[in-house]
Symmetry: C2
Subunit: 429 residues, 2 copies
């Protein structure tokens, strides 16, 4: 049987597990591929670090060239994470004619188009299924199984950290800081959680998904991104009363005049599949013109789910090598469609405002919204503080332009009857 | 650009739609494949039948050999449905060295292993993604994306007709006959609904899924199959009170001593993803040792979702032909694992019984169950009819052997204190 050799960059939690599976299940995997899949080399930063006993010391090296420039290596698996040096190492590996598998969302979001083009030129494959949704098969279904469809929309929960925090806030009426601290204690959030809670991680993943769905490069910098740190438990309660859950959604839609792409907290109907995705789970909903709505649900993070997908990508490439197939990544990013600025996006809104409790208040709020072409679908007075003579009002709107809503809330804030616009959450139906 | 030619068997609702997409989206599809995908011939039963205007009359033929033995045809798409003549036509097409795409669950469940082996010998591909879950990508993820996993279990809602009926019964407290009639009026159930309501269709699909998941042929005749026609609205109400939904589940699990494979109504926790699959939607939950639980959700029937998948299978084969790849189906049904008889399966149970309202009744029931090693997790008296001196009791058990439960219910039915064992529903946690 032909031998296909794998070189690993990185032996952290994921890298170690990938090494473990490649070594331990070698026979079974090779049988499936029709060729021997052999782990050839593992590049680590610190060779003296204590490692699990299943990692053979003789495979370790601290020199990345032992993998990316090694003529014996067919497939390079990049699991270092972060933008540098993975971008440089992957570029070098591809230039050297090696197939590459990675779980690196940052590199694929920022430089995926360039790397895929280079891989196509060099006639090698570049697979990155684990970069979105870890264990959930989504990029391959999008490219292969949905190839006959025009994709209309993507709505996804692709960040487990924020979904864990939001689930806690919703179910246990916990405030944001407490939920974050708990997530950190459980290892679901990093000590610097910025990338997760500000939606940056989700925007990387949406960039990857939207690019494949719409066949055009969608850059992370094109994506409107808003995090979850300003959400208040009160709004989870009101949302539930109105029949909604609050989730950090990554949303991309195709319109005749362009694409919209945005990451922000959103209210979704309690009856929707996405509302029932709790804790660290991820779910990606895709709507195609033929297939209708599809939802892919599973663990969006963790060493084992990521390993499941990384090894599958290695096996797919190995199978193609064994079949003598001319392989190269299918880049079909051959359309050029603009991403609309957020101001031009239309969506419905949930608005929580604190007002002075006096006659004519509602009429004045309604007039301001009406002046901005924003139509109200319901108004509920939620709380009345007789002593302070203030009231809390919750307003749900019909779809309106983001620019109009921003102008309207600025205007509302300036009214003397207003205390504050306390919350503005977009509603995704 | 190389031309890859497709021959279509059948131009019913699905066949017409496949022809439509292949013709209408020809440029876009060809661009994705890197070769021209051309519809060459359409075989129909009745050439004089009125067809949609987009079907070019000059492509029609009534002779299947114009496709399966036509040297100009590269890929044969079988969309006739039913076992015969599709089995014979697919066999002939493969023998003639043609790649085959089908949505035929009956043929693939009963003769898939034989056809796949023949295709492997002849070096052609046989793809059948649409045979399970119509528009939902599931066979390809199972074979490709989950290849590194040992699959532990499958739990699936794979029949839209029964799921529509059960959703109606649950939500609208409708009885079975009314819900079935409504499904028939809406075209969700056929005039002879036997295959759907008796679980035969679901068993075909489970046979296909379980074979791929466990790498061993699982025959439809090995699968315990029980339909939904005896379910009573009362049990949906009690189930909901206990925190469960009632669904027709296709279940397959891997144990050290064999496989279990069964189709029957089952109670699933209201918190589970499967409980929230309503109407004609399908969902397939797969548990792998690395990836954990995954759920694939979408439209499990209908012309457009099926077309989405059939055309995707055609494109995958076309792409491989264009890449000069040595293609053949990956049959990895190389293990031989027995399917356990139902009597040896362990599961929890919901039991609704009508008893005479007299002292000592519960003690006697508990004794009978205990004698059969069945442990009770809860007992609730649901209704008391003082006039008739009868009571309805609902019992939930811990996991017990099916054989024991069958023996216990037989024994219970013979007791003088019993009116009847009114319902026995398995519980899937």
């Amino acid at each position: 049987m032909r031998e296909i050799r794998v070189g690993l960059l990185g032996a952290g939690v994921v890298g170690s597990e990938v090494a473990h599976v490649l070594l331990e299940r070698s026979d079974k995997l090779s049988e499936q591929v029709g060729a021997t899949v052999a782990l050839q080399r593992i590049v680590v930063k610190d060779a003296s670090k204590k490692r699990p006993s299943f990692i053979p010391t003789e495979l370790l090296s601290t020199n990345p060239d032992d993998v990316v420039s090694n003529p014996d290596v067919d497939i390079v698996v990049e699991l270092i994470g972060g933008e540098h040096p993975p971008l440089e190492l992957m570029t070098k590996a591809i230039s050297n004619g090696k197939h590459v598998v990675t779980a690196n969302k940052e590199v694929m979001a920022k430089s995926g188009y360039r790397l895929l083009s280079l891989a196509a030129q060099r006639g090698v494959d570049l697979r990155y299924e684990a970069s979105v949704g870890a264990g959930i098969p989504i990029l391959s279904p999008l490219q292969q199984d949905l190839a006959a469809n025009e994709i209309a929309s993507i709505r996804a929960i692709v960040n487990g950290t924020t979904n864990y925090i939001l689930s806690k806030m919703a179910r246990e009426d916990m405030d944001y800081q407490t939920a974050l601290r708990q997530a950190q204690e459980l290892g679901y959030a990093e000590s610097d959680p910025t990338n997760d809670i500000e939606g940056i991680d989700a925007a990387y993943k949406l960039s990857i998904l939207a690019s494949l769905a719409f066949h055009t490069p969608v850059k992370p910098s094109d994506i409107f991104t808003q995090g979850i740190s300003t959400l208040h438990p009160k709004d989870f309660t009101y949302a539930r009363e109105l029949g909604y859950a609050v989730k950090l959604l990554a949303i991309a839609k195709r319109h005749d005049d362009g694409i919209e792409a945005r990451v922000h907290p959103a209210m979704v109907s309690l009856n929707s599949q996405l509302a029932n995705v709790d804790g660290v789970f991820n779910a990606i909903q895709i709507e195609g013109d033929l297939v209708g709505p599809l939802v892919f649900f599973g663990r969006g993070a963790g060493a084992l789910p990521t390993t499941s997908t990384v090894v599958a990508d290695v096996l797919t490439i190995a199978r193609n090598i064994a079949a003598g197939s001319l392989i190269r990544p299918r880049i079909e990013l051959n359309r050029r469609i603009d991403v609309k600025p957020m101001s031009k996006v239309e969506t419905s809104y949930y608005l929580r405002i604190a007002v002075k409790d006096q006659p004519g208040v509602l009429a004045e709020i309604a007039r301001v919204l009406g002046d901005h072409a924003i139509s109200i679908s319901s108004v509920i007075q939620k709380e009345l503080n007789a002593d302070a003579q203030t009231a809390i009002i919750v307003i749900m709107t019909h779809p309106a332009l983001e620019a109009s809503m921003q102008a309207a809330t600025a205007k509302l804030s300036s009214l003397t009857i207003m205390n504050e616009v306390s919350a503005l959450i977009r509603v995704e139906d």
